[in-house]
């Protein structure tokens, strides 16, 4: 199957899914922002005067962390079910099943646009510099590549091991708490060392450096970001291709 066909199909399915998500809803796209906005308001209200007290531009620091982590969590969690949810079609038509994972990524990215718009609104509200936001896509691209790699891996493994779906729900919640999203960590502390193994830490920190603090990220962080992206997508593609010939029999 050609890459062009896979991409065309991914776009067509993502457009259909996007329409399905809005279908019959009065508030439509406003719902996209509901979760990150409410999470942001809640955490900002609770932690601004405690965990966030010593963090410069805490609301922006918090919001960048929330929208990036939610993007990762939404895509990866949805991908654990994507193959089984489409079992009837997989058993009826030969098509590139990679497109199903791409569809989840694309439709979540559509929603992410509205979250970024909200971020711009918050930056403007707090009178922060907006020029750094121009660099956000520079982090978003490798972040999506990394997320795609994890998603391909999860999508394939869940077909064979249903438990992966439940394990991932639990693990992603642990990651939410373990990643410095609503708090900060001291360098060289134990949580910092653990976070060196947490790819999300690199992406979120770099995004904050660029979009919130207008500073150039540290080179080792950039190397970590590129390394984790490459490793993740390579592993994801290899695992998915290894397992996909038997998807139709396993679901």
């Amino acid at each position: 199957m050609s890459l062009k066909r896979t991409l065309e199909l991914s776009l067509a399915l993502a457009n259909a899914e996007f329409k399905l998500r809005n279908e019959g809803s009065y508030l439509g796209i406003l719902w996209y922002m509901a979760e990150p906005v409410l999470t942001f308001l809640l955490l900002a209200g609770v932690f601004s005067k405690s965990l966030g007290q010593d963090i410069q531009s805490y609301p922006l620091y918090l919001l960048v962390g929330i929208i990036m982590f939610k993007l990762f969590q939404k895509i990866t969690t949805d991908c654990t079910k994507i193959i089984r949810d489409n079992r009837f079609i997989i058993k009826s038509i030969k098509f590139p099943t990679e497109a199903l994972v791409n569809t989840v990524i694309l439709k979540t990215l559509y929603s992410h646009v509205f979250e970024v718009l909200f971020l711009i609104g918050v930056v403007l509200y707090y009178g922060g510099p907006t020029e750094g936001l121009v660099f956000y896509p520079i982090v978003l691209v490798p972040f999506v590549i990394f997320t795609a790699g994890v998603s391909f891996t999860l999508a394939a493994l869940t077909v064979y091991f249903t438990d992966v779906e439940y394990i991932w729900i639990f693990l992603s919640r642990l990651l939410w708490l373990g990643t410095p999203i609503f708090y900060t960590i001291e360098e060289h502390g134990s949580i910092f060392l653990l976070n060196l193994l947490n790819p999300n830490y690199y992406f979120i920190t770099i995004a904050r450096d660029l979009a919130v603090y207008n500073r150039i990220p540290e080179p080792w962080m950039i190397a970590g970001m590129i390394g984790y992206s490459a490793l993740s997508i390579a592993a994801g593609v290899i695992i998915f291709n290894r397992f996909k010939p038997k998807f139709s029999e396993q679901i």
Binding site: R5, E8, L9, A12, L13, N15, A16, K19, L20, E23, G24, N86, F88, I89, I90, K91, S92, I93, K94, F95, T162, P245, K246, S248, E249
Partner: protein
Amino acid sequence: MKRIVVENVWKKFSIGYTGRQRALSKFISMFSGREPKKEFWAVKGVSMTAEAGEILGLIGENGSGKSTLLRLIAGIYAKDKGKIETDGRIISLINLNIGLKDRLTMRDNIYMCCSLFGLGKRMVDERFNAIVEFTELEEYVNTKLYQFSAGMAQRLAFSIAVHCNPEILLLDEVFEIGDESFKKKSTERIEGLVGEGATVVLVSHDLPLIERHCSRVAWMDRGVVVREGNSTRIVEEYGRHEKKG
């Protein structure tokens, strides 16, 4: 010109098997949700060919391997042994399941399903009117599918499939669909495709239909092709076997 060549193809599945389980094994299965599996050969050394411009029928009892063979030809299942060669764009219509979404309009469903069959947006644009016209549902183009009757949805699925340039059309219990006039129309369309050089493989339990439309028939039993040849003769033999059965 041979459009499909199947040579000594074998296919096995790992199927759930709860018989002869010991008490401990049953107890573990109950909590883990896993059950013991055993190998099941659904297709055993099948060989056959299908020429351009012919309708090949596949008959046999439930579980004889007909649908599995269809999915193997379509590339939906991976074979374990043997060789399958196909020449041409394959469109599979298995129980009319082409991924139609109830909450999307007919228009959106056409674009989405054609993409699944490998058509780019420009190609769908070109065929869109023909697809709609064939369904005779022009006034419902912007209606969501949950408001369609089952027959209307079937018309749409069929129309999409036959307008996606099939050179090999694999039909599982799908041929004459809808009301009498649409049955005639769908049959004419398939015969038109065959006349243009397409190959159709039709799986069905409807023996008169098979006899009416297929030039050749293969009778499958427990994963093996037991008879193959002229449709009237094979259908007659199968009919006698069924009566005895």
